[in-house]
Subunit: 129 residues, 2 copies
DNA sequence: CTTGAGCTTCTAGTCACTGGAACCTCCACA
DNA sequence: TGTGGAGGTTCCAGTGACTAGAAGCTCAAG
């Protein structure tokens, strides 16, 4: 199967699929004309990658998860550890964003936002309390 | 004032300060020996940038905010608009992360995480329901 | 006069793609 | 048989906001 159809079926842009081959996440065969030739298992892998990326896993995490997926003697604890590490990162990011949000929304509230130049947002950024 | 002291006083790494000069966010003078020579106003700007970046504003937003800061005839509505745009982005990111978090934590809960290979996380990623 | 800290510039790497150029291949239709 | 266009190929460069590291210059203290 050619890359266009694989792109449709996996939901990933062709560029991304080529990139994933570049970094050896998938290894499609080649036809006589030089075109990539994807097997069902490649499409399956790509869809796996799409879902893992949608959950925010890094490419390196994806690589590990794919390896675990293909290792039938894996221990589920290994998978869980990767997922938990990622969950922690997500929690950290959420906490950071919430803290930014908090500060920012307070500043926005106190800014009258009209034609006058006086602005508590700039005041705060400039270090004035 | 040399970059080292400015780094300490502004809280920004020297590398970052040089980068900010590269992209013309600050324009320190130069001493006869070629060293950057920072005025108080440069330090002030850098501290401003540090705070704006800590609130998650992009470099381009920071550039706009700095310009507004220096434009004494600005309208506070302009500042507020930038801040509100950024707040919306933050909210979007938080929503996305929360949705990831939701899915991921549910998967983690159902994974027993022991020596057995059976794993609902991988099952889900592989498209099995 | 040496040593070491601190400064300079420059290049390249990060992450995960994405855009674009130049070129090749295939298939349908005239 | 020619042609046009869709779809494939590779390679290079850019994104954002730094960061690491190398090679070399300057300065102050001992």
């Amino acid at each position: 199967m050619n890359i266009g159809e694989v792109s449709e079926r996996s939901g990933l842009p062709a560029k991304t699929i080529r990139y994933y081959e570049d970094i050896a996440l998938v290894r499609p065969l080649r036809s006589a004309n030089g075109y990539r030739s994807f097997r069902e298992s490649d499409i399956h892998k790509l869809a796996f990658l799409g879902r893992a990326r949608a959950l925010g896993f890094s490419i390196e995490d994806c690589r590990i998860l794919l390896d675990l997926y293909e290792d039938k003697s894996r221990e589920s604890a290994q998978v869980k550890a990767v997922a938990e590490g990622h969950l922690t990162e997500i929690d950290n990011k959420i906490a950071q964003l919430k803290s930014m949000r908090e500060t920012l929304s307070q500043l926005i509230e106190t800014c009258h936002g009209d034609h006058r130049p006086d602005c508590p947002i700039l005041k705060d950024l400039s270090g004035n309390t």
